[in-house]
Amino acid sequence: MSDEALLAGMAAGDADAMAAFVRRHQGRVYGLALSVVGVPAIAEEVAQEAFVRAWRHAGNYDARRAQASTWLLTITRNVAIDVLRVRRELTVEPAVVAEMLISTTNDSDRVADSERITTALRALPREQATAVLLSVHFGLTAREISEQQQIPLGTAKTRIRTGLSRLRAMLEVSHG
């Protein structure tokens, strides 16, 4: 059954659909949560909360705007960042994690549909890829990135904007 069908079932109160949806995506959701908050017990809470929110908002999901997986991961990221903003001690070295996210050492744990974006991120200048990941993955503003990376604010903004634009161009090419 497709993700879209499962989400429609969840919106209608189908518990089987909810269980199937959780089973299908739990590894990915927990993996993202763990990469942001870094502590397994807290990542589990984040992942649980992400699925609760997905259940609540399943009726608002619009397949024309996003794949179900990216929709769910966006929810997960938002929950994880909520936690980070309160528990600052969890944020050890986001830049190091950002490097690890596109490192080849993680390739065995990647999901097939991440190959395109991973390749594109690796093709970016490293500082742009890091800025994009810090912004997307950890929700850091350009100001926070400039402070953490010890670079001018304008440079941080440019890296985020240029990095995203280049990613778009590369993804458009790979779409054909």
């Binding site: 518990a15 927990y30 649980q48 990216t70 938002n78 991120l121």
Partner: protein
């Protein structure tokens, strides 16, 4: 007509709205520009899709044993609070040998606003005792998500903006209103108002409800929250600032 120079001015902030990291004032500034600029709306839509795809790079990890059961138990508990649906049977125990397909309880999402943040705050409080703060940041994140979801329907019936004016009728800011799940109101004051804390209230025919406290410094400020009232029921947004300064956005003629 859109001033093309404005597109360049918001380009950096636009990218941060796409990644979901923009600050409240930056989001509001971009949103105000988007209302009149279809090119930037399209740009933001495309960059947002790219940013969302970046999330796919995180490697998979199996969650701890019992994860699935724990999620379903939480949802069953939340669903059981709804008066609109029958109480579910007991949720499955979060054990590794639980039979996933045995869960057949109807789990209809509740439609009461705000309930989830409170429940989520309780959950996070159990982790670190920071529930109140988490509640606040959660609302802000929800607002951020709301902004992004609004983009496709800007100028439609689900989204509205109105000027905030002072006693002399001079515009000093904007209020943005979104009808959805949840509905929300966000006020932005510019750098012409006195710095300080402004109490923001929503006025409907049923009375006045406090909305948020808006902290304003010399560069301006913004604040907002979800609202229980339908947007079309809101007649006015009142802001009372330092020394009793009164500002307002009149929505009574809007429809």
């Amino acid at each position: 007509m859109v001033d093309p120079n404005r597109c360049g001015e918001v380009a950096d902030a636009l990218a941060e709205v796409a990644t979901g990291a923009a600050s409240g004032p930056d989001r509001a500034r971009v949103l105000a520009h988007l209302a009149d600029c279809p090119d930037c709306r399209r740009e933001l839509d495309e960059l947002t899709r790219v940013a969302d795809e970046v999330l796919l790079v995180a490697p998979e990890h199996d969650p701890p044993a019992g994860f699935e059961g724990a999620v379903l138990a939480r949802i069953a508990a939340l669903a059981s609070e709804s008066p609109a649906v029958p109480p579910p049977s007991p949720p499955p125990a979060p054990a590794t040998d639980a039979e996933p397909d045995a869960v057949v309880t109807p789990l209809r999402p509740r439609r009461r606003r705000r309930a989830l943040p409170y429940a989520a705050a309780a959950a996070i409080a159990a982790l670190g005792g920071a529930g109140v703060v988490w509640q606040a940041t959660s609302d802000d994140r929800d607002l951020a998500a709301g902004y992004r979801e609004t983009l496709d329907v800007a100028n439609g019936r689900y989204f509205h903006a109105a000027p905030i004016v002072d006693d002399n009728g001079e515009q000093v800011g904007h209020v943005f209103l979104y009808q959805g799940e949840p509905s929300w109101v966000f006020t932005v004051l510019d750098d012409t108002v006195d710095p300080g804390t402004y109490d923001v209230s929503v006025v409907t025919e049923d009375g006045t409800q406090p909305l948020a406290e808006c902290e304003v410094d010399r560069t301006g400020g913004g604040a907002g929250s979800t609202v229980d009232a339908d947007i079309y029921q809101i007649e006015r947004i009142d802001l009372v600032g330092p020394g009793g300064t009164t500002l307002a956005a009149d929505l009574s003629d809007d429809d």
